[in-house]
Symmetry: C2
Subunit: 552 residues, 2 copies
């Protein structure tokens, strides 16, 4: 195993970013420490980034929601002279294994999506103020902002030079956001994406690549004015103070990772991990004031943060674990009560934030390239938001009837109102709507059962689980399934799951994770990019890539 990657950080440890708060406006400066790469062997020159830089950014975006709900506008700027951001570090990409490249792009995509989610879910708007060169992943950061301002001078430009320079794609949403978000005409997008030096000034605005182009002398004033204007027009409710996202309780050992509410048990021989979620220890708070007082200790927030960290840990640090199983143990009624408190107070900022976090977290589960299994055992608490994990899973197994020597309460699945709209997938549908695509009557039938703890036969009849098995079959069937699944080609699993999970409509988000990512992954495997003579590998050597010119 290479160095373990840790997704936990906090402002005191940031090396690459700083945030200056000014009431409803936060100024976010990208100022990458050249020597602060997460791996050895490259320098993060020209505000280029690697995973470590992005882990800090993801932390900032998350804390902005929970710790700084007073912020209505975030202005993203460069802390360097003459350069905004040169994008992902090419030496790092050139040296990284295929799997790391793919995981890196997925995580950075999730963080970019987080910019857009901040405005959509909480009215926290990101502005990008570009002075200096803004290229590749740098422009993809800008594209994720909802307003782009560009200085009009000879060194300031936006560019997607990946194709001409590196023989790869702008794979962090770049191509998709250019056509689908910025609505740049496709032929102009073609010209832009094949022009190494990018586009400056008025042409950048005329083509729709930026929203405003401003003379250098007036730029700072204009950015500040625009930020104040957006803040004044914001419909985000005023909130005086946030809550603190305190460090997670967690420990790693040979058996896995252990959090306060989440346990990850790793079976290396079987190439599986079992994530067991604990139900709440006690009653739900009576009011949101109590939730605020509990802060990061509140059950559903603590659980989300721990599960989020566990998923990222498995993605990056446990590549040989092909199957992830979700289990739970606890009182489903208590899970329902905790979620109900949030659902019935969804005008309260913190209730909204916690629910929106679960939405983002469940989307992260959806795009996790491991076979996901739901296992509904006796004593489990798959209720409401936790039941979403069963619908995110590729398949699920549920215990039916009594099991010898097992005195736990019978396995149940309980739906809540939350399952019918609070946690939509990237395709814009709920997981139940996706599950019952083209059969809305089944969604309605499920809705009629909200609040009922459904035992195996009922859950099966409602189509909520894949297989129900009794004491006689349970162990054998699961053993055979796990053995067989673990023997399949991991690539075929990744491709199959990426196709089966997202039936129905596509959105910009699913297009980024589907079409764009899949093509990028293909290119990352092609000698023209990553072979010894490929453009990505040769970057910086002064030699251009040598290509096999056959079109595929």
């Amino acid at each position: 195993m290479s160095k373990m990657i840790d997704f936990q950080t906090d402002p005191a440890r940031y090396r690459h970013w700083r945030v200056e708060h000014d009431g409803p406006i936060a100024n976010l400066y990208m100022d990458v420490d050249e020597d602060g790469g997460i791996f050895e062997g490259y320098k993060l020159k020209l505000n280029s980034y690697d995973l470590g830089v992005d882990i800090e950014l993801a932390d900032i975006v998350q804390r902005m929601r929970f710790e700084h709900p007073e912020v209505k506008v975030v202005v993203m700027r460069s802390g360097k002279e003459r350069v905004f951001c040169a994008g992902a570090n090419i030496r790092m990409l050139g040296g990284a294994e295929h799997g790391h490249k793919v995981n890196f792009c997925k995580f950075t995509n999730e963080t970019r999506n987080g910019y857009e989610a901040a405005e959509e879910e909480s009215g926290q708007k990101y502005i990008c103020a570009i002075r200096g060169a803004c290229a590749g992943g740098g422009y993809e950061l800008a594209l994720a902002c909802n307003h782009i301002m560009l200085t009009d001078d000879s060194t300031s430009s936006v560019a997607l030079p990946e194709v001409p320079l590196l023989a790869v794609l702008p794979g962090t949403g770049g191509l998709t956001r250019v056509t689908d978000k910025r609505r740049v005409r496709r032929d102009l997008a073609d010209v832009f994406s094949s022009t190494e030096e990018g586009v400056r000034g008025k042409r950048a605005r005329d083509w729709g690549l930026v929203d405003e182009v401003i003379p250098n002398s007036k730029f700072d004033t204009a950015v500040e004015e625009r930020a104040r204007e957006f803040a004044a027009r914001s419909t985000k409710p005023d909130v005086e103070a946030g809550i603190k996202l305190t460090p997670l309780e967690r420990s790693f050992d040979v058996s896995g990772v252990h959090y306060s509410l989440v346990d990850v048990a790793i079976d290396r021989a079987g190439r599986t991990a079992t994530i067991t979620l604990s139900g709440p220890a006690g009653e739900a708070p009576a009011t949101m004031e109590e939730v605020v007082a509990q802060g990061a200790g509140f059950y559903l927030l603590r659980l989300a943060r721990e599960l989020d960290d566990a998923i990222l840990h498995l993605r990056f640090n446990e590549p040989e674990i092909g199957i992830v199983t979700f289990c739970s143990q606890g009182d489903p009624a208590q899970v329902m009560a905790h979620e109900a408190l949030l659902l019935s107070n969804d005008t309260h900022w913190l209730a909204r934030e916690i629910l929106a976090y679960w939405k983002r977290l469940l989307k992260r589960v959806d795009v996790t390239s491991r076979s996901l299994v739901g296992r509904v055992e006796h004593g489990s608490c798959f209720a409401g938001v936790l039941a979403e994990l069963l619908f995110a899973a590729d398949r699920s197994y549920m215990m039916e009837g009594e099991f010898e020597g097992d005195n736990r309460p019978p396995a149940t699945v309980t739906l809540s109102a939350g399952n019918f709209g609070r946690y939509p997938m990237g395709n814009g549908l709920t997981r139940l709507e996706t599950r019952f695509l083209g059969a809305p009557e089944k969604v309605e039938a499920a809705r009629a059962r909200i609040g009922e703890p459904l035992e195996a036969e009922d859950a099966d009849a409602a189509g909520l689980v894949t297989f129900i098995l009794d004491d006689i079959d349970w162990e054998d069937e699961l053993r055979i399934f796990y053995e067989e699944r673990a023997s399949f080609s991991p690539d075929a699993m990744t491709g199959m799951e990426a196709n089966l999970r997202f039936a129905g409509p596509e959105t910009m988000e699913t297009r980024i994770f589907g079409r764009l990512t899949a093509w990028q992954n293909w290119i990352f495997n092609r000698p023209n990019a990553t072979g010894p003579k490929g453009a990505l590998q040769r970057y910086g050597t002064g030699q251009r890539g040598e290509f096999d010119m056959r079109r595929v």
Copy 2:
């Protein structure tokens, strides 16, 4: 160069299929000649197919529309005992180069889409009558039919064994049609697609994999009944006789391919091909009766068939040609007149068929992995349906003003009503709607110019072309563009174009060519499938694939 692949065939030459006509019902028998492989080195056992089998099938589907408009229902059957179709031939796939695999899948996908288009566009419905094993690409053929009937016996099953058996995907629409067309629940789709032996009988119907399961003894009667019933219920107008799709006039030489109306000039050093379309030689016929009398000689049908063949030829036989340029020469008013005749007679079966063929042909252009350039020169006839080629292109160049020594009529682009709905892309939008995504007012402004031959400035102002260039800049700008484009990595071009061309909504069709195909192409490049120890390569050796178990 390997053996040239020819896409022209006719019933007298079929080796793998036979069609029995019975009035409004056609029985299509798949009866693959084991020894009739298009390449050496494999036998087409168990009704497995290769490109040669599919070229015949595509020919059948096309002739069914033009030569047999009386057919309302096509029943697809196997001509073999005990096996329906074993799918694409694995030995052929194992031995094929990456580029051939990808092109093969694209062509077979287009043919499968042609089944669905036949019902949607002309009310010609495909039924699949399955007796015997129907696996992989065999079941994907069934999925493309709009009604699937399965014999209920011990040897008849449907299966997608690609993932467990070959470590690749069911990439000819399989995964997408299972979830999006058949609406199979995603967890059941997961079980089905990872079960080598497939699903039989009642379970196949309960899961939605087939529409009917019928005891063997009653199967033939039931199929015949169903065919008659669908034919009787069909709203397809009665047509007595079709027209003959006579052989194309064409010749190949070192300079390219020469048809009666289409000329393909190949510049190998520059890695470009220029396709020049000729305008009509004379006036448009006055009536559809005259068009019927002209048959395959009618300008717009002849042009479509020649262009279709040229595109397929370039795809398969000219892999190093990275750029395809569309030019035209002729009278735009005559092109408009020919199209207008069809548009104003669109209740006439042949007018509908020719327009629908252009729709399919233009979609084929859209998914052609070459940089597509429109070049609007003086004397050209990019009007109506031909103007669609400019909107299908990745970019276009147009001559502005007088060019020294050039006495041809000035370059123009002319829009027709056809550009506003007759030839939608796979994403369901017109090319103009896709071009002006999110700016419907620009589509409306363009509509207001229907019928006007727009010279360069006007075409540019309307956003219909990318660059307009005068005599001074034309040659240099184009030379620089072609040289630069030809120097880029072909893989990066393929990925970029596949993303930029399809802005906006996605449909089952774009999902197949986007998400599914891109993942399949990635897998085709992975050692777990196609390396020396990969499952695809080892198939038939008795050894299973050996996998690198790291998940990506």
